[in-house]
Symmetry: C2
Subunit: 170 residues, 2 copies
């Protein structure tokens, strides 16, 4: 149930509507925990019902602004300190590698090259973001940069792996 905690976490930065949160998900959390519009609105409803957030203001067009409650903050901190992260890793990309013997070696090399190129593209994109958020001393920036660095290191590892793997197939 991490969507719930993603929402609580974002609300620690101030009240926001479902619409606001959706934009934040799309730009800043999409690589870590993507969420769709319908999921978000449904989750906000459940959070409000559970008392972890409350509707703190209503605006034009039926806008509802949600704020995190004390209970919500407590739940967020509990999740962060006491709940072990789930380690279910599912990779469509890596699953294919197991079955590369089913296609011919040229195609298999193509596949691995494409994965390397994809990683390279991701890296360029992330480096662009890193340069944009270079400065900024607030928590958001500090921890956002740490998360971004994770992406950069993983991207580099994946690119190097793909280049190496391509050479393993003869």
């Amino acid at each position: 149930m991490s969507l719930r905690h993603a929402v609580l976490g974002l609300l620690t930065k101030g009240p926001a509507s479902g619409y606001d949160l959706l934009k934040v998900f799309d730009v800043s959390l999409s690589n870590v925990w993507p969420a769709t519009q319908s999921q978000l609105y449904a989750e906000l409803g459940r959070l409000a019902e559970a008392g972890l957030v409350s509707v703190s203001a209503e605006g034009p067009r039926g806008r509802k602004e949600y704020s995190i409650t004390g209970e919500g903050l407590a739940e967020l901190r509990h999740w962060m300190t006491d709940v072990e992260p789930a380690r279910v890793m599912r990779s469509d990309m890596l699953l294919r590698v197991f079955f590369l013997g089913q296609i011919d070696p040229g195609q298999a090399r193509d596949y691995l090259r494409r994965q390397g190129e994809f990683a390279t593209g991701q890296l360029e994109r992330m480096e662009g973001i890193r340069d944009l958020v270079e400065k900024g001393q607030d928590d958001l920036s500090v921890y956002g940069r740490i998360a971004l660095d994770y992406g950069l290191r993983l991207g580099q590892a994946q690119r190097e792996w793909a280049e190496w793997a391509e050479k393993q197939i003869r």
Copy 2:
């Protein structure tokens, strides 16, 4: 729909029952595409209905042995060469990093240290597996090792990241 392709891929190595496949999932595919028993039996039923696999033998205790059909092989190859891998990355672990400012710095450093330790443990486990499957020239071994190498490189990157990240928090 990758479970479907994972099953097809495993069946290229010979006929197997749901029970057989479950064990293979548990030992060799669990880190890439975990599957539960109920999911597997249901998927085998659907695959048989779609004509991608067929019941090639029946054994004691209602055992059904499935074989991949020509259609199934074609679908597997299509998936491998023409379908772009999905890149939805969801990380519970990384999501928490965004909100590390909500707990105190000591706890945040603890969190990152635990993630580094976890990566180290995973690495040791994977190195053990690597030493076991060192030899073996069959496709299964070759591509299995390539997949394992991916895990090793990612684990190393994660360990180094966690060690670095811990130092960023003061």
